[in-house]
């Protein structure tokens, strides 16, 4: 379970360009389900997602995972949680150019100190499962959008995370590739993982595999979506 308790996020606080991105969000997200934060551009869904994933901290309020308070954790502990509990799929995929597909998938596992061969085997297995093993040796800049996203998903899963976070995962994909992505995500859920996405794509929000859609507007939850 992920709990958000009166979470606020203000950028440039106290300055003339102060902007309140999140305004007192209370929300509980169930584990083992696919949840989508839906809303127009500027509604605060990505900001909220980054706070849940420990990539940024609230200005006030708390983010808890099970009984552990994530938002108060010192940075060194948060890094460990980010590394082991969360897997991230970014909107622009953020793959490292110049490295091969296999190396990109292995990157998040390198700081964990796991056995290199074990990581390599796991990365290769993930690429196989996502039907992109034939591109293992290719450089990521040679991949198509759909292929790059599969690699990004494989990378998100390499540390066996409990929660997968995806920010606008279908923004750069056509409808067929978006459906394909949802199939993959359904598989991820069936492995017992929690999936949390942001999207304003109807293909994602209306998909059957999605368990819950939380609507946002102007930094707050739209009525009917509290907790």
């Amino acid at each position: 379970m992920i709990y958000l308790d009166n979470v606020h996020k203000i950028f440039n606080q106290g300055k003339v360009n102060e902007f309140q991105a999140i305004k007192g969000v209370d929300l509980t997200l169930e584990g083992g389900k696919i949840s989508v934060l839906k809303g127009p551009s500027g509604s605060g869904k990505t900001t909220l997602l980054t706070m849940i994933g420990g990539l940024s901290r609230p200005t006030s309020g708390r983010v808890r995972l099970q009984d552990r308070d994530l938002s108060s954790l010192p940075e060194r502990f948060l890094t460990e949680i980010r590394r082991k509990t969360f897997g991230f799929v970014f909107q622009q995929f953020n793959l490292i150019k110049g490295l091969s597909v296999l190396d990109n998938v292995m990157v998040p596992a390198l700081p964990t100190g796991r056995d290199h061969k074990e990581v390599r085997d796991q990365a290769a297995a993930l690429l196989g499962r996502l039907k992109i093993a034939h591109k293992s040796g290719a450089r990521v800049e040679w991949l198509s959008g759909g292929e790059a996203q599969r690699v990004a998903i494989a990378r998100a899963l390499v540390n066996d995370p409990e929660i997968v976070i995806a920010d606008e995962p279908t923004a750069n994909l056509d409808s067929a590739l978006s459906e394909e992505f949802l199939e993959i995500i359904h598989g991820v859920k069936q492995e017992g993982r929690t999936v949390l996405m942001t999207s304003h794509d109807p293909v994602v929000c209306d998909a059957q595999v999605v368990d819950r859609v939380v609507s946002m507007r102007d930094g707050a939850l739209v009525d009917g979506h509290q907790a």
Partner: protein
Amino acid sequence: MIFQPAIIALLLGSLVVTIMVLAASGFGVQVLRRWNIGSGSELQVKLERQTYLISTLMGFACTIELVSLLLFVFNADRMASQFVGAMCAVGTLNANEFGFPALTLKLINFFLAGIWLILNYVDNKGYDYPLIKPKYLLLLVLAPLMATEFGLQLAYFLGLEADIITSCCGSIFGSDANTVASEMGSLPLSTSMIIFYSVMTLTLLAGVFFILTGKGGIVFAAMSGIGFVAAIQGVISFISIYIYEHPHHHCPFDVIQGGYNYIGYPLYIPLFSAALLGLGVGGLLPFRQKQSLSEVIPLVGRRFAIVSVAGFALFLTVATLSIVFSNLIMFEK
């Protein structure tokens, strides 16, 4: 006199440390009054963020404090040649009334700053800032002491006059002088040696026992403090005379001079480090009940104890070898 590199470094270092500690004190008061990890208030989140910066800066400030003690003594020794009557650091420190008070306060601040660093180190290993309040409480104790230390150092260095005739170490540590230090030096040699070796052996045994069993931390910490005093007493009463090969020369400062192969440094650096870490073991024990530190403190305490025991052992070895290889014969065969 003030325009000497070491003095400028000491004064600037002390000024920077004082400013940093005083600035951090305001934050410390806020932490002590308002810290509540259970709250997600804006103030609490802000305090959590700021403590990174403040702790890091204080870590540097306390490290400067540790190193500056060494520089202060080194500088005092180097400046001895500039004062009539001074043979070592004692003469320089005696050149005005602020010298020894400054040294005494630097010694106190050395241990307090060291303990702050230990608390900070352990606090950083807990996920819920377990020692944040004791850490900032100690900071509030340190702030006026560091400010006073800066004032004393400034008064001392500004008050140094080259034409002052000062007293050498014989006036303080000689057997004719009427001081606590001279009384230490005038103890019978055999009594001093028995006390010294007994206390040091007990300290080492307490340390080894703690390392092996994880028990007796308080005893080891207490023995580290007692061992430190016994070690200083040992240096004044008999180790020094074997190093100088002179039966009435008890000065604990001359040993850092080149004429005695700078042997004071391998004596004092391990001793001070050992005492600090040994005391740190005891200082941490009350916090082992905290959930986030229940596994950390035994581990860190054991590591500190290993280094502390090694430090005491190194001090004892250097002291004993100095006696064994000395040409001074104090006992008839």
